[in-house]
Amino acid sequence: GCGSGTDSGAGGTGSPAAGGVENAKVAFLMPDLASTRYELQDKPLFEARMKQLCPSCTVIYQNADSDAAKQQQQVNSALAQGVKAIVLDPVDSAAAATIVQTAQSQQVPVIAYDRPIPDKPADYYVSFDNEKIGAMIAQSLVDHLKEQNAEGGLLEVNGSPTDAAAGLIKKGIHSAIDPSGFKLLAEYDTPDWQPEKAQTWVSGQITRFRDQIAGVVAANDGTGGGAIAAFKAAGVKVPPVTGNDAELAAAQRIIAGDQYNTISKPIKIVAEASANIAYEFMQGKKPAGKTTLYNTPSELFVPTVVTRENIKEVLFESGIMKAAEACTGEYAKGCAELGIQ
């Protein structure tokens, strides 16, 4: 009777019994809806892997919609349901400390996923880190501009000012462009990651700087798309624009040549790895980390920057995306050029 949860309200089943993970529950808690990846990729991949490992187990999926308090509520209710492990992508890395505290006090292990929890060591950490992502997209853009001998400065479109992950990406971007020699013309924290806001802001900068804009570093694909729309609407040539998350829409823009890059995170690998580790914890084992980060046994994976050059291999040949979905209508031509079928 591990899974019923009704009998022991507090949810903790004492120390996790070895073996006997039949009918167990595991919580998979994601932070926001700003990016589609959590619902479209992380969740199904994690669930599929879990199903393979333990057909009778249930995955409790929740999305906190960028609200740390809501995430706390979700953890509490997962605990009340008697989960045996929690995979947590924290909304707020700092605030997640209290979640780890609560869960661990009920002997439920916490696996930090995607974002670290520096203040309170989780039981495991599986990720690629956001700061690195920021640095990678910016560096790729800067290299490209240098190659082209581009003149002018850069615009920086960050994520939401109230989002901790956006802060990390912002830090990474700065680490790449500050020493690059390109002037940072202006930067902007996009409230709620709203593409419309990014568009409005970039439109304003276009009137301000006209043709001094050599490139735009946008922190995700949505804001990148907004930036591109601003250039198109102003009737100006679109400079190289970055992205992040490898959304289908971004892939299409890259194929069409509107967007310069995006970043593909090996979500499949990370999701499956976290499922494996969660399963081990559920069996009562204590998996060892490949490295240690923030006092936490960790396993880190490296994301890949996607540009027109490598989009075919990284996104399509690896099976992350299907050509049939991307190469519709106006994008068919680009696909043909790049040899994507």
């Binding site: 949860g5 009704t6 309200g9 507090a10 949810g11 809806l33 619902e39 249930t58 995955v59 409790i60 999926y61 929740q62 999305n63 919609d65 960028s66 609200d67 740390a68 308090a69 809501k70 706390q72 509520q73 979700q74 509490n76 209710s77 605990l79 009340a80 349901q81 909304v91 707020d92 890395s93 700092a94 605030a95 400390a97 209290t98 505290q101 609560t102 203040d119 939401s160 000012p161 109230t162 989002d163 901790a164 802060g167």
Partner: protein, 408 residues
């Protein structure tokens, strides 16, 4: 002998328990049921959610529910006050976030004593409310616009205060965090409080009835009072016992309920409360009655922002952290919605302090119940919307029958 207030021959007379029952039936038909319809809506929601996931009504989950209700519930209490004077405060979320941020900076970064930090945050809330009131009273700017400006400005301030850190953890071993997360009323004390509450109800009712009878007015019979008090006692003891099966009744929830009771007293038993309802019902009439309308507005805005600050502190304590998104998300909407769902009118003059309590419990029940179901975010939003609507339909239908029976 017929009492002074029952002499009109058109009044159907109803005495004793029998009369009370007729009275309730009559009122049900007329739709004059107070909070009962919302409570019925709540029961319906609970039953459905329990049927879908048996964990929902488990003691552990209900304990969580009570703790999660407190912070936003206290904010909603302030919203009830502004709604009663037919104004609105859109900035409670930002103010609560700013208050949390101030607390974090003073307490953690500056290392001041916790009570200094708390006082500073609460005083800041009061000052913000005072500022709103000044703008409102002097320039007559609609409160919607003032507090919309406040929403933006104080969000900005919050970001500014947290700019160096982004997010601040409150230490787990601090009294505040302990209060919000782990402090529960000991069983004996809970039961004592329950008994005291019931006894208090009986005693005050008895004294009141005696006074009324002495003055030649109709009054509740002792039997009625006893039945009511016993019912309250039974409910409270059951709640205490059931929650006590796991962690018990959290002090934070007790604080919330305590504040609701205090506000209920202030609103219904003091001159200030009367003037609040009067200003909400007809501000010109209130002014002509010699009420200092500006003072009433000031008090209400100050109260609302202060409650928002308190709510922000509790939310920070419960999360043991403050960050840039504290007070963001749907804190605003939830606080206002709680007041409205609990039956407070957006047009002023109608509502009680209890609507904050009931409303927030409805909202948190839905949220917690759906958390227990394994739903896609998209479906969850849809279901939340539909359930919310259902919860209020019961109440509205009751009210509707009230107006169609000619009651205003």
């Amino acid at each position: 002998m017929v009492t002074t207030d029952r002499q009109d021959e058109r009044l159907q007379s109803r005495v004793g328990v029998r009369g009370a029952i007729t009275d309730v039936i009559e009122r049900a038909r007329g739709g004059d049921l107070g909070v009962i319809p919302v409570a019925v809506g709540l029961v319906v929601i609970w039953s459905v959610l329990q049927a879908l996931n048996p964990v929902f009504l488990s003691s552990a989950n209900l304990v969580n529910l009570t703790l999660e209700s407190a912070a936003v519930g206290i904010i909603a209490l302030g919203i009830v006050c502004v709604l009663l004077v037919a104004q609105i405060d859109l900035s409670v979320g930002s103010v609560s976030g700013l208050s949390g941020a101030v607390l974090g900076v003073l307490f953690v970064l500056q290392g001041l004593p916790i009570w200094v930090a708390i006082t500073a945050a609460v005083v800041m809330g009061a000052v913000i409310g005072w500022l709103y009131a000044q703008l409102f009273n002097r320039f007559g700017v609609p409160s919607f616009v003032i507090t919309l400006a406040g929403l933006l400005a104080f969000l900005g301030l919050q970001l500014y205060v947290l700019r160096t850190r982004g997010s601040i953890n409150l230490p787990f071993d601090s009294g505040l965090v302990h209060f919000a997360q782990l402090a529960f009323v000991p069983a004996w004390l809970s039961y004592t409080l329950a008994v005291l509450a019931a006894a208090g109800l009986f005693a005050s009712g008895y004294v009141h009835a005696r006074e009324r009878r002495k003055a030649g007015l109709s009054a509740n019979s002792v039997t009625m009072l006893a039945v009511r008090s016993a019912a309250l006692l039974a409910v409270l003891v059951f709640v205490v016992w059931y929650l006590g099966r796991t962690r018990g009744v959290g002090w934070m929830f007790v604080l919330f309920v305590g504040l609701v009771l205090v506000m209920h007293y202030l609103l219904s038993r003091t001159r200030w409360g009367r003037s609040v309802y009067a200003v909400g019902g007809n501000v010109e009439a209130a002014r002509r009655a010699g009420i200092n309308v500006k003072a009433v507005y000031t008090s209400v805005f100050v109260l609302c922002s202060t409650f928002a600050a308190v709510g922000g502190i509790l939310a920070a304590a419960r999360l043991a952290a403050v960050n840039q998104s504290s007070g963001g998300g749907d804190v605003n909407l939830n606080a206002i919605a709680a007041a409205v769902i609990g039956g407070t009118s957006l047009f002023g003059g109608r509502g009680t302090a209890f609507s904050a309590l009931l409303g927030i419990i409805v909202i948190q029940s839905i949220s917690s119940g759906l958390t227990l179901l394994n739903l896609d975010s998209s479906i969850r939003f849809v279901v939340t919307g539909v359930v919310l609507l259902l919860a209020v339909v019961v109440d509205s239908v009751a009210r509707k029958s009230r107006t169609s029976h000619g009651r205003a």
